[in-house]
């Protein structure tokens, strides 16, 4: 089974370092990015499954980055990390395609739980895609042969 590759996006460097250490220690594969732009660049070269995205960042903010990610990598699951105590800012993220949200300050255990849920969702989605494709095989193997040629 595929292992989850998580990406942390936040402008707080120390947050990235510590959280990466914590999560790595628990056996997760972690990529970090200090800005939305950096995150998109890294995603192009590495296959990321789940992104933990801070809402408030200088330059390209969380919602913008979220839209760009969803645009380029529709299958990537994004969890918004909001500093606001209220749900409203998170709702904006959910509307723009985020899978879930977390409120700062959040415990690592919560973070892992949400990330795992998102990853499972991702896996289920991939499974569905595979199933759909395989159904096509059954229907018309010749077409598939033609496609592959």
């Amino acid at each position: 089974m595929e292992t989850m590759k998580m990406m942390l996006v936040d402008d707080e460097e120390r947050f990235l370092i510590t959280t990466e250490k914590l999560l790595s220690r628990k056996g997760y594969d972690i990529v970090t990015a200090g800005s939305g732009r950096e995150a998109l660049e890294k995603m192009r070269s590495q296959n990321v499954h789940v992104v933990i995205l801070d809402v408030k960042m200088p330059g390209m903010d969380g919602i913008e980055t979220l839209r760009a990610i969803k645009n380029e990598f529709p299958l990537v699951e994004v969890i918004m990390l909001t500093g606001h105590g209220t749900v409203e800012s998170a709702v904006d993220g959910l509307k723009a395609g985020a899978t879930d949200y977390l409120m700062k300050p959040t415990d690592v255990s919560d973070l892992i739980q949400k990330a795992e849920e998102a990853f499972e969702k991702r896996l289920r989605l991939e499974e569905k895609i595979r199933m759909a494709q395989s159904r096509r095989y059954m229907k018309s193997p010749r077409e598939i042969l033609r496609e592959e040629v």
Partner: protein, 561 residues
């Protein structure tokens, strides 16, 4: 504003309210009085003058007519015929037919011997040659006497006429009835005291005066009358009897007699006095009305101003408080947001430390000691304190920016029991009885039901805390009342019989971060959030409390619709 300010303002308004109508009123009354009195005076004097003129005319006419009667006798008869007593009687009877003022008739020769007489007395043969009147008539041809007594010793006056016939002078004389003449003059009446009379040059009454003054006596006032003049004179003078009179005089009978018409001044100008009374009455009534109205209006104006002032102060007080709360809320929200980022880092650092600590222990790199327990305890405490900070920042953020509330019509008759149900369990655990008195005509209000639940839960929880502090687990009760107010609002009041709130604390009760609870138990934001919610709905929230007795929170909402 200070009371003094209103006092002086009241004085100013009162003064202008009294003076503005009073000054024109006085001017109108004064002008009216002046013209009225002048017109009354002149019309009184004019009527006096007319009366004296008419009277004079009448008397002159009377005398002239009698004179003409006698002249006719002279001209139509000769001395010889008239000497005959029978003829004389015939002439007299004819004369009396013309005017019954004639009393007798006599004929005299040039020496003044009464040669013939017809009348009630026996005068024939008497000699009048030396009498004043006889000399006058011989000189002037005719004579009308003053009133005198004569031989007969009765007041009378005579008209005599001389005629020269064949070189011999003879005289005819008639006596005029003084009573009749007297009546003619005396009959005049005006007002109560108006009277008329005739005096001769020496001030002797020729006719009686009604107010006293008999024939032939002397008028004590006669020196006051003007000496001979033509036309009519009017004047005011004090008579000897002490009264003041308005006089009108005219000389008649070629300046022998003076006709006097007089009336007491009081009587003549009676209309003036009643006019004065009327004016005083008007002044008093109008004055009382003006002053009364001025006091009434001024009081009302001042009361309105005070009310407005109080309203304004109240409003600006509310505004200041609301603004201050909003500013504080925004500041706190920004602060909480910024704190959340470092908190997140601390949280993760602590988590990492715990992780590493666990690994070290597992590997057996650490020798078990009391220090290790302390260290671990400290790490755990950091986690607890972070959780506490998180609670605070989240409460602050809730208070600061609520986001857009979902506004709907809300039925308090449904919402309140729902909220009560939420805390019912907690209340019954503490032995608190909840009484709900929600009137069926409680109007619907508009607001966010989530926010309202938050407000009421907050109030109920505070009430429960206050009660348990005072009563422990029995004897507490919370009374919830709802209904319409007289000014068309919906009112909800929550009363508890808890410990109450001190007056100092009552002032700060809605301020953010104000709490009386022990550290870590309350954020001090609950009531200020409630206040903000109610304020945003356009409602008001008030609190009354008596320490150790009860506390009542009263919320008034604008009605939906």
């Amino acid at each position: 504003m200070e009371k003094n300010h209103y006092k002086s303002m009241r004085k100013n308004i009162l003064a202008s309210m009294v003076l503005v109508p009073v000054i024109p009123l006085l001017i109108i009354l004064a002008v009216g009085y002046y013209y009225f009195t002048t017109s009354i005076e002149s019309s009184t004097i004019a009527s006096m003058q007319r009366i004296v003129g008419d009277h004079c005319q009448m008397i002159e006419t009377f005398l002239n007519e009698r004179k003409a009667d006698l002249r006719l006798v002279c001209d139509s008869s000769s001395y010889h015929t008239l000497k005959d007593p029978e003829r004389l009687q015939e002439v007299f009877v004819n004369l009396q037919k013309g005017s019954n003022a004639f009393v007798d008739l006599g004929v005299f020769n040039g020496d003044g011997i009464h040669v013939a007489y017809y009348g009630p007395y026996q005068l024939t043969g008497r000699i009048y040659g030396e009498m004043e009147w006889f000399k006058e008539v011989i000189k002037k041809g005719y004579y009308i006497s003053d009133i005198f007594l004569g031989y007969r010793n009765i007041p009378h006056f005579i008209i005599a006429m001389a005629k020269v016939e064949d070189g011999e002078t003879w005289v005819i004389r008639a006596t005029i009835d003084t009573f009749m003449f007297n009546d003619l003059v005396k009959k005049f009446r005006i007002g109560k005291t108006g009277e008329s009379y005739i005096l001769n040059r020496d001030g002797i009454f020729q006719t009686e005066r009604r107010s006293g003054g008999s024939l032939m006596s002397e008028d004590p006032d006669h020196l006051k009358y003007p000496s001979h003049h033509s036309g009519i004179r009017t004047f005011l003078a004090n008579a000897e009897d002490g009264e003041k009179y308005l006089y009108a005089t005219i000389w008649l009978k070629e300046g022998d007699w003076i006709l006097v018409v007089r009336q007491q001044k009081e009587d003549a100008f009676k209309a003036l006095r009643s006019a004065s009374y009327l004016i005083v009455l008007i002044m008093v009534i109008a004055g009382v009305l003006i002053v009364g109205l001025a006091f009434y209006r001024t009081d009302r104006i001042i009361r309105q101003m005070e009310q407005m002032e109080a309203d304004r102060e109240n409003l600006s007080g509310q505004l200041i408080r609301a603004t201050r709360l909003a500013e504080l809320g925004e500041m706190a929200a920004g602060f909480a947001h910024e704190i959340n980022n470092p908190l997140q880092i601390i949280n993760n650092e602590q988590a990492l430390m715990m992780d590493i600590w666990a690994e070290l222990k597992e590997k057996g790199d650490l020798k078990g000691s009391e220090l290790m327990t302390d260290f671990e305890d400290s790490l755990n405490e950091i986690h607890i304190q972070i959780a506490r900070c998180t609670k605070i920042t989240q409460a602050i953020l809730k208070f600061g920016r609520q986001g857009e509330p979902v506004v709907k019509d809300i039925d308090l008759q449904r919402l309140l029991p729902e909220v009560v149900a939420m805390i019912d369990q907690k209340a019954s655990v503490h032995g608190i009885q909840i009484n709900q008195e929600i009137l069926s005509d409680t109007p619907f209000i508009r607001g966010d039901s989530g926010q309202l639940q938050q407000v009421f839960i907050n109030l109920f929880n505070n009430a429960i805390d206050a009660i348990t502090t005072r009563h422990g687990v029995s004897g507490g009760h919370i009374d919830i009342q709802a209904g319409p107010t007289e000014d068309g609002k919906a009112e909800v009041s929550v009363t508890d019989n808890g410990i109450g709130i001190s007056p100092e604390n009552l002032k700060k009760i809605f301020s953010p971060f104000f709490t009386t609870k022990p550290v870590g138990k309350g954020t001090g934001l609950g009531l200020s959030i409630c206040y903000g919610i109610i304020h945003d709905m356009g409602g008001t929230m008030e609190v009354r409390s008596e320490q150790g007795v009860s506390t009542t929170f009263t919320i008034r909402f604008p009605v939906a619709g």
